[in-house]
Symmetry: C2
Subunit: 396 residues, 2 copies
């Protein structure tokens, strides 16, 4: 935006949504969940770590761990940084995460890629038929180049599409290489497996020609598996990332009615419990680890058996995520561009516009899916990608 003012629109003031009383209520439910139900940690190192801490903070029974919520918050508040620099190989492109303005990143995880065909029809809604295919390495490299060229995308993300024409481990290595060869912006590391995560760190280190240990260049998207569970793979990747001094996004992604209560308050309480434990883990493995707080929920349609991306309820979630993260002085994850639209139409725009502006209003520090998202995330639309990347320039 042409900010011709001496005003910081992204002032921390712009984050009120729920009252402090309601947030207290969420927190008290969270603490009860942590105390009475606990969280499953399906990985040995994590369990070992939990066993090593004071029994009053974490109590391990099999794979289930019961917690004292306030103790977790104390650990996080005293240890996790309020903001951090995510380094780029080109130092000019390093970004500060948590400085009050958002970093936009493209779509993550689309199986399909869609291009506009050259039909000769050039304008408006009727322009060009689209052709789509399962993502290939060529597509992937094209998308990374687009993300690199887009001024408003300060991070090239990861898995802009799934690469289907190679075996998984190999595909992920090629994807990492694409980010290193075709861009000098920061990006997100693979979490296919701990080996894949280690490979990303190794590839980047050799590009930087020095140890990147304790200098975060890479983000890692570590999701809980709701309800109230962390699986072995994300926990293993988290450990590799943290031990190498890299940054993590710890996030709960809830489909209300399927993986969490249908009510937003219930979902928030559950998700907050998951995220609190995940973030504490990063700080116990290595105090001071750079971490983002993610918490997002969308309604799950029992009728269609699908999540309803773009639902106004999910806009509230982004706001509440920000408020809960503020209680821990942590930067937050936001979700732009999301929509249930099947084609690149008014619906795609309306829902993406609402999501993007909510991320912006509520001061997300790192906004995923900000360009290219279509068909509930099953497809990256290349034209939409370019257009959104252009639109986002008005918001950075």
């Amino acid at each position: 935006m042409q900010n011709t003012l001496d005003i910081n629109f992204n002032s921390p003031a712009n984050t009120t949504w729920l009252s402090e009383d309601t947030l207290d209520k969420i927190e008290s439910y969270t603490d009860r969940i942590l105390q009475e139900v606990g969280i499953l940690f399906e990985e040995e190192s994590a369990l070992k770590l939990w066993k090593s801490v004071d029994n009053k903070i974490a109590r391990v029974e099999g794979e289930r761990v019961y917690f004292d919520g306030e103790a977790l918050r104390d650990i996080i508040r005293t240890s996790a940084p309020q903001h951090f620099t995510l380094h780029a190989r080109n130092p000019d492109k390093s970004t500060v995460i948590g400085n009050g303005s958002t970093v936009f990143a493209p779509i993550y995880g689309a199986p399909k890629v869609q291009y506009i065909a050259k039909t000769g029809v050039k304008t408006g809604a009727d322009a060009g038929q689209r052709t789509s295919n399962l993502g290939t390495l060529d597509d992937y490299r094209h998308l990374v180049s687009l993300a690199h060229d887009a001024e408003a995308l300060q991070n090239t993300g990861f898995m802009l599409c799934v690469v289907h024409d190679h075996e998984q481990e190999e595909a992920h290595e090629y994807m990492l290489q694409a980010h290193l060869e075709l861009s000098d912006k920061p990006f997100i590391n693979s979490i296919l497996s701990p080996a894949s995560t280690a490979k990303g760190i190794e590839l980047l280190s050799s590009e930087v020609r020095t140890s990147i240990k304790d200098k975060p260049y890479l983000l890692h998207l570590i999701n809980s598996t709701p309800p109230l569970r962390f699986q072995v793979n994300p926990l293993s990747c988290l450990k590799v990332a943290v031990e190498n001094g890299q940054a993590c996004i710890i996030t709960a992604y809830l489909m209300m009615g399927a993986m969490s209560p249908v009510t937003i308050l219930g979902a928030m309480a559950q998700g907050y419990a998951e995220v609190l434990t995940g973030i504490t883990l990063t700080q116990l493995y290595k105090p001071g680890t750079s971490v983002l707080f993610g918490l997002y929920s969308i309604p799950f349609s029992m009728k269609r058996m699908l999540p309803t991306f773009g639902d106004p309820l999910s806009m509230h979630t982004q706001a509440i995520c920000r408020q809960l993260a503020n209680r821990l002085n942590l930067p937050t994850l936001g979700y732009g561009g999301k929509s249930s639209a099947k084609v690149d139409d008014f619906q795609a725009g309306f829902e993406a516009g609402m999501a993007t502006l909510t991320a912006y209003h509520q001061q997300s520090d790192f906004t995923m899916h900000a360009a290219g998202w279509l068909e509930s995330g099953r497809c990256v639309d290349v034209e939409k990608f370019k257009r959104e990347a252009e639109l986002l320039k008005a918001l950075v």
Copy 2:
């Protein structure tokens, strides 16, 4: 939205944007404009009224009036209601303006009407060619019926399209009749001329079969003519409305770079000056008059010689309008659905989504243009109208 919570998302807390310091700064610029530059009032009754008040509050020189800003705010704060009921002929459809949730109204002022033609193509972006025409009375009546049927539109607005197939005064009377015949929701009165405004009040009174004096059934959209001017017609209509105990929206609609400074802070200071005087006028004519505070600005493109509807800057304006109105304890006007898109596509959606969600986030009390807006407001698209009316159900 399925609000399954005991939470009021529309809590007044959700209105911080600029800091109080910055708002003070705007207010001090406003007061300087009022004191040193003054506002033109091009109508006799208004000038006579300003002459009748304390010279320290308003000082008249020809058509130009200089003001003491703080005195105007005092008058407004002690006199104008914080909320009021806008009555419908069907009491079940009366709406409280200023109770924390918004009333959505359709597009206002479109010269053209656009329908989707039956081409046999039924899905997505490629569906149907559109046909458009200059608005007719038939179109108008169709649009009022649509607005009446739309659950989320609690007000049928006015001039949903311009009626070209009748003389103006006659057209406005037919338009008013359409709102009375085809709907029992509240609506906005004509401001074509004072006679037209009086006609609306007369027609409504005879429908209600009792005097509507001092019981607001009708809103009146009274715009300043920036920079720093009120023309004779809006002032005359304002007088008729207020004398009949009806409600007014007093609003400054600024195109930054054309009718106001290019900076948002400058534009806000100017617009606030205009609105303050207009609102004070309503309270001096009749203390306690129901009034909404409107203040909106959009960038004007010097290159295209057009305003850029949907620009993110205009989202900030909505937020600042809310904050300034809060200082006067007044309900505010918001702007949903606005876009510069020429067709009903992603751009139309993205911009409309941003505008609508901003009105919602920032707690607009009455949101105009929430359905049907296309082509920078030159066209009402019937399909978009219906779709938006449906979408808005998630926000009421």
